[in-house]
């Protein structure tokens, strides 16, 4: 089997490949909590990749969906005593709603304006949540999102004591999301996204409603990021206000680009590289941000395809 056959097989069974890898991943990662972070941030970057990588529209506002997903889930659990499973769906729905509203405004602009408008609108969400007082915890963030045990019917997971059980709990949600994501980009809708990326005017001329497609893709992308946020609330048991800041949006952009935007595995590889590197560098110096910025600039300048994109490119050239 030559190389291009191999990549063909991987692409055809990509969901299974990701699943197999993520099943054994906690045993490869330095510790389980980091592995869970990779799942959550991989999903977050995956959600952004739908608009950034596949549709070619740069959004700097996805922190709003991650944050609203986290706050929505957390507030439902802490203040209203809702069971954790419906709470997650409340978080996802609220993130989706936020994406629909933000998207409706942002699609009125084109090109580079989109990044600026999404960033400003997300910052607006930041201030709204910041001023919600007791409901959101304001500057201190939301604390006390506690989920100690999960009753699966046949067994009970003690996710506080067993980080590995927590990993597999999160993995369950992430795998469903990855499966749905894979179906979306394989659908005719997914092809329209790529048509918009390649040439927006041509897609319009072909009769596709570009604005509507952008809005729908933006909203769907918000749902995925909302789930990532909801899972992060359960994982950390707090929701810091920083999860709404535009630096959080920047994280998803950096992970997607580092891994390879517009590729299926890229966001997870990017999240993995990012978080593991952060884990190593922060043990040596407190100036991780300096290295992060420098590494990111090097990728933008010399490896814009990202890690996975560069590997794919290298294989296809042989």
């Amino acid at each position: 089997m030559n190389m291009s056959n191999l990549t063909g097989t991987i692409t055809k069974n990509r969901v299974l490949v990701v699943f197999a890898f993520l099943l054994i991943f906690p045993f490869l990662a330095p510790y389980e909590a980091l592995a869970t972070d990779v799942l959550i941030y991989g999903l977050y970057a995956l959600g952004l990749n739908l608009v950034f990588g596949y549709m070619g529209v740069l959004s700097f506002g996805h922190a709003a969906f991650f944050g609203v997903g986290a706050y929505g889930t957390g507030i439902a659990m802490v203040h209203f005593g809702v069971h954790w499973v419906p709470s997650i769906f409340i978080g996802i729905l609220m993130a989706g709603l936020t994406a629909m509203i933000m998207g409706a405004m942002a699609i009125r602009t084109k090109g580079i304006y989109f990044a600026m408008v999404t960033l400003a609108l997300a910052q607006c969400v930041y201030y709204i949540v910041y001023h919600m007082g007791e409901l959101s915890g304001g500057e201190d963030g939301l604390t006390g999102v506690s989920l100690k045990t999960v009753d699966l019917g046949f067994t009970t997971l003690n996710i506080i004591r067993e980080p590995l059980s927590k990993y597999y709990l999160v993995l369950g949600f992430v795998m469903v999301a990855i499966f749905i994501f894979s179906r979306i980009i394989n659908s005719p809708f997914g092809s329209v996204l790529e048509a918009i990326r390649e040439n927006e005017n041509r897609a319009q001329a072909c009769g596709y409603d570009v604005k509507l497609t952008k809005w729908v893709a933006f909203s769907i992308s918000g749902l995925f990021c909302g789930l990532a946020g909801a899972l992060s609330a359960i994982h950390l048991s707090v929701v810091p206000i920083e999860s709404l800041h535009y630096h959080q949006s920047g994280l998803a952009v950096m992970m997607a680009l580092l891994g390879g935007m517009g590729t299926f595995f890229g966001p997870f590889i990017g999240a993995m590289a990012f978080l593991m590197l952060e884990d190593i560098i922060t043990t040596m110096t407190s100036h991780w941000q300096l290295f992060l910025g420098a590494i990111f600039m090097i990728f933008v300048l010399f490896f814009p395809r990202g890690i996975w994109g560069s590997i794919l490119h290298w294989i296809s050239r042989r």
Binding site: R108, T109, G111, M116, V117, A120, Y246, L257, M297, V300
Partner: protein, 294 residues
């Protein structure tokens, strides 16, 4: 609404204009750079922050506010010059997103470098003796330093306008904004023009930083809020329009000042509401051209 007199209203108007000066300076630089280079400078807030810190440093060395005020834009502009030449220039022709992403990374690096050099604590930057105090402007006493801000900003905007509209170099800049290809064919080294425009834009951002330093606290993160504010102003005014940057900067300043007078809790949000309204009514911004967005 008790106690809100006409005098208070007018005073708040002036406060808004003074607040707007920082927005104007930031948006003018951002817009100028975008208009010519089609680069959205995400490090604009970081240059603003560097300007404030260079100001603090120069004040410590020279002890003279005026010397610092003149030197800061030169130092920050030179930094911008180097960055355009070695980091941004390789990205031209590679799509509009790449310079934006690069400057995002650059902002992280600049902020962290300042943290390493100056530490995490805020620095103090005092208003010089001559500019402290308040003067009577007819409706009440207004801080002299804020009047000074309005004066300096008017001067800078006027000087930029003269430079771009009335000099032969400005003619090249305007031509370059319209069609860089033709300018190049006519034998002008357009990359030199871009270099200078990037330096001017970042220099003005540095100046905004040092001017704002006495009013806002000088911390390494000070650029991140102001970047968002500058984006809002640019979207409201219209990308690439100098007039738009000035009018929108003042407008946003006054809107924020007025909401903090009438509904203090909504002050943070008012500028975003304004932006949303502009997006709904006139997506290209108040003074933006329709074609520029694509």
């Amino acid at each position: 609404m008790n106690g809100i007199t006409l005098e208070l209203f007018v005073m708040q108007m002036f406060t808004g204009l003074a607040l707007g000066t920082v927005f104007v300076l930031m948006a003018v630089g951002l817009s100028l750079i975008f208009g010519l280079l089609t680069v959205v400078n995400f490090a604009h807030g970081a240059f603003y922050m560097v300007g404030a810190y260079v100001g603090v440093f120069l004040m410590g060395v020279t002890g003279n506010f005026w010397v610092s005020l003149v030197l800061v834009p030169i130092v920050v502009g030179t930094l911008g010059l180097v960055i355009e030449r070695f980091l941004v220039r390789p990205l031209y022709g590679r799509g509009i997103d790449y310079p934006l992403l690069l400057t995002f990374g650059l902002a992280l690096v600049l902020v962290e470098l300042v943290r390493i050099i100056f530490g995490l604590e805020g620095q103090s930057f005092d208003v010089p003796e001559v500019l402290s105090g308040a003067v009577n402007i007819g409706v009440g006493y207004f801080p002299l330093y804020r009047l000074f801000l309005i004066g300096v900003t008017s001067f800078i905007v006027f000087a930029l306008w003269l430079f771009i509209e009335k000099t032969s170099y400005g003619l090249i800049i305007r031509a370059g904004a319209r069609d860089p290809e033709i300018v190049r064919i006519l034998g002008v080294d357009i990359s030199k023009v871009w270099l200078i425009v990037f330096a001017i834009g970042t220099g003005v951002a540095g100046l905004a930083g040092v001017l704002a330093a006495p009013m806002r606290s000088v911390i390494p993160d000070m650029g991140s809020t102001v970047l968002v504010e500058a984006f809002v102003v640019t979207v409201v005014g219209g990308m690439g329009s100098l007039v738009g940057a000035v009018v929108a900067g003042m407008l946003v300043g006054v809107v924020v000042a007025m909401t903090s007078l009438f509904w203090p809790s909504l002050a943070d949000l008012s500028m975003f509401v304004l932006m949303a309204v502009v997006l709904l009514v006139r997506p290209q911004g108040l003074f933006g051209q329709k074609g520029l967005m694509g």
